[in-house]
Subunit: 259 residues, 2 copies
């Protein structure tokens, strides 16, 4: 089979189609989809038909295209975040119950925090369906505490490439924030969306002491009681880290082959 | 571009790779993955590398392959179930709070109920990370009530093809169950996994009165109080149906183009 060139571009085109949906938009007309994916309409049409034939996309009665239920099922059945979320959810619920605050769990992906799970404080369940949001490292407590626990080389790489589009934060200040988060064992930061809330996050360390996630709360400013919040978060994070090692042994398949 | 044949087979091979992970298994060694996907090792190796290059798969340090964080993000950011789950979650939480029971939400996919959301009764949060489970129509109250609300033609098609591998349920009994569920407006069924629990489900009707989902509870046998459970579920289902129409208008993009 020598079609690696065309194969590669098919993969590329598939990714462009899947990535073309703006956040929270579940259906697009084909012409919109083709334009957003920067594909010719005929190419998009043909590929959408192929993908829909395999259940990776769905085409509705009015011709609107959405991600396929089968794709959603396959990805969530074997989610790369499944182990982490399964380990974390009981402890996240503890935090939610004890502190009655919004609780979130994030991983570092590039220079961004990707939120993989979220529990809202009681009475505000609406957000829960929306996970998979992203925030730049420097504007999220989860991002800061994750970066603060990376190797020196990764941190330098990040700081060297850093520039704040608003011009408010310079490299030196950011370096100081990271140093502080590493020293204190948590990061705190005023909310970006709502400046009357604060985010507080601690690292979740696996058995090899790598920071694999950040556990955080978003708290109204008047309710920030670090002496209560931080120990509770740190206790929960230790519990998650312990569970993480246990479940890995049970759900990962092993073989002698390596790539 | 005339590579529709090779393009088609690339789509097919990609699906086989993604679908090769057994439920709940998040990482496979390449040789296992190739065997399960029924692909030659060299083909699997090349395709995994391409997909990993685009973030659709991840290759770990030990050579284990998992679904990519980017794929998870893209699919959940624009989940085909997002609208339904967003509409349903506040009402599902109401049921969870008022009745303190496990609540679930399912859609019909082929002849199976696909569970797209689940809230566990307080103190048993562990299940929540595992959605995307499936159950055959005839062994789930959600499946029965969804099928009972399909057109006569769909029901006949389903019944004609039905055969129970255990031999316990015959076509006539199943037809009677569907008729009863349609007449009563709910379905109830003893648990398959745990016979001491009962599932009870009602249909969620959209504005055109199509059954787009089933809302259900799983209840210990001694706590089955239909006179309390069914009206609460039906009330919540009506609320979901109303919300569904509202949100569709805000999140779907419209254009004049159709396929």
């Amino acid at each position: 089979m020598a079609n690696s060139t065309s194969g590669d571009s098919v993969v590329d085109r598939i990714l462009r189609l899947i990535a073309a949906f703006p956040e929270g938009v579940t259906a697009l007309q084909l012409s919109d989809l083709a334009a957003r994916a920067e594909l010719p309409l005929t190419t998009a049409h043909r590929l959408v038909r192929q993908l829909a034939g395999h259940g990776l996309l769905d085409v509705g009665p009015g011709g609107s295209v959405s991600l396929g239920l089968r794709l959603w099922e396959l990805v969530n059945r074997n989610s790369p975040t499944l182990e982490l979320r399964q380990a974390a959810l009981p402890f996240m619920e503890d935090i939610q119950q004890v502190l009655n605050q919004n609780v979130n769990l994030a991983v570092l992906d590039g220079w961004e925090a990707l939120f993989v799970e979220r529990l809202s404080r009681r009475g505000s369940v609406a957000n829960r369906a929306q996970v998979a949001g992203r925030m730049p490292v420097h504007v999220s407590s989860a991002g800061l505490v994750l970066m603060a626990n990376q190797t020196h080389a990764v941190q330098m790489d990040y700081l060297d490439g850093f520039s704040d589009p608003t011009g408010k934060l310079v490299r030196e200040d950011l370096g100081a924030l990271l140093g502080e988060a590493a020293h204190q064992g948590y990061a705190q930061l005023a909310g970006v969306v709502d400046p009357d809330t604060w985010g507080i996050a601690v690292p979740v360390l696996d058995r090899r002491k790598r920071a694999v996630a950040a556990l955080g709360v978003v708290v109204p400013l008047r309710e920030v009681r670090l002496q209560a919040l931080v120990p509770a978060l740190q206790t929960a994070a230790r519990g998650i880290g312990r569970r993480l090692g246990e479940s890995r042994e049970t759900i990962e398949f092993h073989s002698t082959e390596s790539m």
